[in-house]
């Protein structure tokens, strides 16, 4: 990794009695990266996040966030990290402004700066006129935006978002993802925990796949696809003619062929085989199109956990 790491975990472990929630994980996140944290419920994602925030103590191992140890220097860590929990809560009886002014004062922001930062953050999250409204009247989408506004107000070095789009409709989700990209554009490092794999794939530079408290896989989606699906390159082939799937399957270095439609096939291969496929098919069939397809994180995830279940 070329970028300086701002989050590092070495052998981080959390046990609750006999239950191992997080089992010796190693993680490194570079400055300005968006890293997705994936895994089924109970795989250790949230516990890892809480340890990185200094909200729970690791049983073993150590972490470093923005150059500080969350266990010994939690205040320094919290000054530099913005956290948006899943289903963020606010004081319903207070206005949006009063809610964020409270956490702003707790964060040590100067009183005079709070209003200014609040106005700017509310504009960025698309709630410019909602500052005086009571949060009780806010929809879930508005609450999530307000949670993000809180992070923006803090201007953190690292933002940790725990399933931020879990309760949002598709339109709000897309807007929220755009805001996450905006954080990266500001130079903020983002750790994004989510079950929505397509969303994670659309915004994350790398992902870490958690399983039973361990990081089972980590890297870019292409790297993960190479490890799990056996082919780092995925090519969509649009071709008309009989027996095309078999012909593609029998080509050298083709790992897997999946029929996506009557004339559309997804080919996973170890390297870029577009020229070879074009030559193979051009003579005997009507080749309509050939394009690179991003390997699907959903496919990687499903295959990995299917194989893990079979192995178990």
């Amino acid at each position: 990794m070329a970028r300086a790491s701002v989050v590092r975990a070495d052998g981080l472990t959390k046990r609750y009695g006999a239950v191992v929630a997080v089992d010796h994980i190693d993680l490194e996140v570079g400055a300005g990266e968006i890293v997705g944290i994936l895994g089924p419920n109970g795989s250790g994602k949230t516990t890892t996040i809480l340890m990185l925030l200094g909200l729970t103590e690791p049983t073993e191992g150590r972490a470093e966030v923005a150059g500080f140890d969350p266990l010994r220097e939690p205040l320094e860590v919290k000054r530099r990290v913005g956290y948006l929990p899943d289903t963020v809560g606010f004081y319903d009886g207070l206005s949006a402004r009063d809610n964020l002014a409270y956490t702003g004062r707790l964060a040590g922001l100067p009183r005079l700066e709070i209003d200014d930062r609040f106005e700017r953050a509310m504009i960025r999250v698309g709630l410019p006129d909602a500052g005086r409204e009571r949060v009780a009247a806010f929809s879930r989408g508005m609450r999530q935006r307000l949670g993000l506004a809180e992070i923006l107000m803090k201007e953190p070095q690292i933002a940790i978002l725990d399933e931020p789009t879990a309760t949002l409709d598709p339109h709000s989700t897309n807007e929220f993802l755009a805001m996450i990209r905006g954080l990266k554009a500001d130079g903020t490092t983002v750790l994004l925990s989510s079950h929505h794999l397509d969303q994670v794939q659309s915004v994350c530079d790398r992902v870490a796949l958690f399983n039973r408290g361990r990081i089972a896989l980590a890297g870019s989606v292409s790297e993960l696809a190479r490890q799990v699906l056996g082919g780092g390159h995925v090519i969509d082939v649009e071709v008309r003619g009989p027996g095309m799937a078999d012909r593609l399957r029998h080509m050298a270095e083709v790992v897997r062929v999946q029929a996506l439609g009557p004339e559309l096939y997804r080919v996973a291969c170890a390297r870029d085989l577009r020229d070879e496929i074009a030559r193979e098919l051009a003579s005997t069939s009507a080749l309509i199109g050939l394009r690179f397809a991003e390997p699907s994180l959903n496919e990687v995830y499903t295959r990995y956990f299917d194989e893990a279940r079979d192995a178990a």
């Binding site: 909200l55 939690p74 320094e76 919290k78 606010f90 956490t103 707790l106």
Partner: protein, 317 residues
């Protein structure tokens, strides 16, 4: 392991926010109105009955607090009964409310320790209680000035101030108790029920239980030779476990200056004493010092237990 920074970072911010919430919340308005109306009613009834005796007692203002006029109980009896309710209403959802609103992790993700949140909430609760009590105290004094036409003496003011501090400590015990239950139980309703259960135990059932237990431990209250001293001492020790007893004894000694002792007294001890003459304020304060210390210590111990339990909790909401 040593943590960086002060555990008190953010206490002031939490205190200001929580005190504003407590003082402006509908729950507090309702309860304080109830306390105000009943207490003012009791004080007014006392004024009507002591107007006839002006000049007979040097402590008229203190009678405002202690005199009962049917059907109303005395001001101090009402406070002893209602202050725990107000304190429980403030504290029963202090911590679990943050979990159920899902604000806990958001707040603790700011650069503060948990210590600041718990202490800030506790101090805010005490401040809200103190503001309510001071207002009530000033109202009663104003009512007394208006209807009796006399100002309180220096000694009366001193005794009333001592009584105010004791009432605050008594409220603090119940506030700490309610906060402890709010830490232990995740459902605010369960915490409120548990705290009210403790209040009922000490307000109603404790005085029924202590004679039974004392008889079992020390024998019957009377023997052929006279009162059973072991029984009296056991009964008093058990009674004093209850914060209500400690508070009642403080109120008695401070607001009725003729009170010379708060336990069994032997003839040899009162030989030569001028019975019925008031004790100087300093002597009365000496008399209630163990009770006041007991109340403050109980408050601190309960708060410390809440603190330890809270420190060990997992923050996931």
């Amino acid at each position: 392991m040593r943590r960086e920074g002060s555990p008190l970072t953010g206490v002031g911010v939490v205190l200001a926010k929580e005190a504003a919430d407590y003082l402006s919340g509908a729950r507090m308005w309702l309860l304080e109105t109830l306390v105000f109306l009943t207490a003012i009613g009791a004080a007014y009834a006392a004024i009507l009955s002591i107007r006839a005796t002006i000049g007979e007692s040097p402590f008229l203002f203190l009678h405002l607090f202690t005199m009962a006029q049917d059907p109303l109980p005395s001001f101090i009896s009402l406070l002893g009964f209602l202050i725990p309710l107000v304190a429980i209403a403030i504290g029963f959802d202090a911590i679990n409310g943050e979990f159920s609103r899902r604000t806990m992790s958001r707040v603790l993700a700011q650069p503060i320790y948990r210590d600041a949140l718990l202490l800030g909430k506790f101090l805010a609760g005490l401040l809200a209680l103190a503001i309510g009590l001071v207002s009530l105290w000033l109202l009663v004094i104003g009512l007394g000035l208006l209807l009796l036409g006399l100002p309180p003496s220096g000694e009366e003011t001193l005794r009333m101030a001592g009584f105010f501090v004791a009432t605050l400590a008594y409220g603090g015990v119940w506030l700490a108790m309610a906060m402890l239950f709010s830490v232990v139980f995740r459902a605010p309703a369960t915490a409120a029920l548990a705290a009210l259960g403790m209040w009922l135990l000490f307000a109603l059932f404790w005085s029924v239980l202590t004679p039974l237990v004392s008889t079992l431990v020390a024998g019957p209250p009377d023997t052929v030779l006279g009162p059973n001293l072991a029984y009296l001492q056991t009964s008093q020790a058990l009674d004093r476990i209850s914060p209500n007893t400690l508070y009642a004894e403080i109120a008695l000694a401070l607001l009725q200056p003729t009170t010379r002792a708060l336990g069994p007294v032997f003839y040899s001890q009162i030989q030569g004493a001028l019975l019925g003459t008031p004790l100087p304020a300093a002597q009365s304060f000496l008399l209630i010092w163990p009770q006041l210390t007991g109340l403050v210590a109980t408050m601190i111990v309960i708060f410390a237990i809440a603190y330890i339990v809270f420190q060990r909790q997992e923050i996931r909401a």
